[in-house]
């Protein structure tokens, strides 16, 4: 079995006092991050940009194979190092066994931890910085899964933020690294850079015009993945799609980032074309979809998560296309999160049945949309040269 070996280069650092200075869960809950509220984004089509790095500690078995004692040991040694990072000042830090399943689910709904991580307990932890732009999962599939998230198409900024944390850490702990294979990860699909760059896109017009499958196929063909709202194997709710790199070995980090950026820009272009075309050719359908979304969200008393998310997508599209005053743009974003099951139950301060959730969800959307004026009907845009229906052709290389 694995030899016991000093994990930290310097073990002399005194342990920090237990969590006295850390951010409380209630504070995290109360203050959603800028990117969750749709602030700071430069494109209404791109919600957020995310970078994830997978790292492991040398001489310890990967979390999925390690004995429980080893996992606890790795966590114990890593935690104080992570909490002491300058970026993690006053962070939220918790061992997963100390969080309720609803609290863990809130972190998933905010994209701060993965669904897989939420299922873990003893020997795993989550650390989230105060701004909720940076999160670190300890003992997920790898010892460290670190993530930076920024609003809009800002992959480089997210990478720089995370790279700094990674560089700080590499002198504190000994990473599992090989000069040929790069960062060694539990799954060979993450080998090399250990980097996953992903961008969350809102693509309602490509869905409405039934071009989305074509786009997904084109993106897949050049080695990028398209996933739903909550990652692998999830449904594309609210017309939200995550595009991310699939290969991690053989390219430099910033090459991966630049390629994804280029692809995203092309997708944005296609979405804009599709929006212009819808406006010209299917104005009535568009008016109908946005009007219905407005009416149902504003007046319903029972609404499922799926229905609400898909209707909020139409409200967001309506904001982008001038059906609603522009200051309402962030409304749909924030609601996307607030009407999720765990957020609802925290709000209600108790466990809710599915029926109770549907009722509370409708109550919240009614309240939030109370001041939203009836959708106007913007004049058809005159500059509509977006109608050219070019076949989707990606010139990646």
């Amino acid at each position: 079995m694995i030899r016991p070996c000093p994990l930290l280069l310097d073990r002399s650092a005194a342990p920090l006092p237990p969590e006295a200075h850390m951010m409380k869960f209630s504070t995290l809950m109360r203050k959603p991050a800028d990117w969750m509220q749709g602030q700071g984004g430069d494109s209404s089509i791109v919600l957020s940009s995310r970078i994830r790095l997978a790292r492991n500690i040398n001489e310890y078995a990967f979390p999925g194979w390690a004995a429980k004692d080893d996992r606890v040991h790795v966590l114990h040694d890593l935690k104080s190092t992570l909490e002491a990072l300058p970026e993690m000042k006053d962070a939220f830090s918790a061992d997963l066994q100390n969080l309720t399943s609803i609290e863990k689910q809130v972190l998933v709904e905010r994209h701060l931890i993965s669904r897989e991580h939420a299922a873990k307990s003893n020997g795993s932890a989550a650390i989230v910085n105060r701004k909720q732009s940076l999160s670190i999962m300890v003992n997920e599939e790898d010892h460290l899964r670190m993530q930076a998230i920024r609003p809009g198409l800002r992959l480089r900024e997210a990478y720089e933020l995370l790279d700094k944390v990674d560089t700080d850490l590499e002198t504190e702990v000994v990473y599992a690294f090989d000069n040929t294979l790069g960062y060694l990860t539990a799954c060979p699909t993450n080998l090399g850079t250990g980097l996953r760059a992903s961008v969350m896109l809102h693509l309602p017009a490509l869905v409405l015009s039934e071009q989305i499958n074509q786009v997904i196929q084109a993106v897949n063909k050049i080695g990028f993945a398209v996933r739903g709202l909550y990652g692998e194997g999830t449904e594309a709710l609210a017309n939200l799609f995550q595009v991310s790199n699939q290969t991690t070995l053989g390219d430099k980090e910033l090459e991966i980032v630049a390629r994804l950026e280029k692809i995203v820009q092309q997708i944005i272009q296609h979405e804009e074309n599709a929006r212009a075309k819808l406006g010209e050719e299917k104005r009535t359908t568009l008016n109908d979809q946005i009007g219905r979304a407005f009416a149902i969200l504003k007046y319903s008393h029972i609404i499922s998560s799926k229905e609400a998310l898909n209707l909020l997508s139409m409200i967001r599209l309506g904001c982008d296309l001038g059906y609603f005053p522009p200051e309402n743009g962030g409304l749909a974003n924030l609601l996307l999160m607030e009407i999720q099951p765990a957020h609802l139950q925290i709000e209600a301060k108790r466990k809710l049945s599915a029926e109770e959730r549907d009722a509370l969800r409708a109550e919240i959307t009614r309240r939030k949309l109370r001041n939203l004026p009836e959708p106007g009907h913007p004049a058809a845009s005159g500059d509509g040269d977006g109608g050219d229906h070019d076949p989707i052709n990606w010139n990646d290389e």
């Binding site: 294979l181 053989g250 430099k252």
Partner: protein, 167 residues
């Protein structure tokens, strides 16, 4: 005659081809090696398993014909089951066989990105050794033995340094 990929001695008589994610993998075996690897039912047989066992002779327990990581006890069938490896050391054990999987999965098989500071020195040394090795091969081919001797000494010094730095 096409030689067996495993023993590299006997004539290959068993030819395996498998397409994984659109990439073709081929392995040619002699009858003896095919029997030893248990290739009798091609339908229930993953080429990846076989590839994982190639080239890591010291780690392969001949009796059970399954590679085991000495550091963490992880086996080839654990990899097949989970798709994950057990520890960093597993890459040394299963590494050679992984190459073809990595080729199918990634853009390249060599890391060209970030190198953590503590590893930068050994990486540089390794690259220098590799370059000198190339020069040495040329020198030997050209029968420039004096140059070859000094290159060999230089490589030796660097290797000692690399071993020290890597420890």
């Amino acid at each position: 005659m096409q030689k067996c990929d495993v023993c590299n001695d006997q004539e290959a008589t068993v030819f395996l081809t498998q397409i994984v994610d659109g990439k073709m993998q081929k392995v040619n075996l002699c009858q003896a090696c095919a029997d030893e690897k248990g290739v009798d039912d091609p339908t229930g047989f993953a080429l990846a398993d076989l590839l994982l066992g190639l080239g890591s002779q010291e780690a392969v327990k001949k009796s059970s014909d399954e590679a085991v990581c000495e550091e963490c006890g992880f086996t080839q069938s654990d990899f097949k089951k989970t798709g994950r490896l057990g520890c960093a050391g597993c890459y040394n054990i299963f590494g050679d066989g992984l190459d073809s999987l990595l080729k199918a999965m990634h853009k390249g098989t060599r890391h060209v990105g970030k190198v953590p500071v503590p590893f930068q020195h050994t990486k540089e040394l390794q690259e220098r050794i590799q370059r000198l090795q190339g020069e040495l091969d040329t020198a030997v081919a050209d029968e420039a033995f004096e140059t070859a001797a000094s290159l060999r000494d230089e490589i030796k010094t660097l290797e000692t340094e690399a071993a020290k730095a890597g420890a």
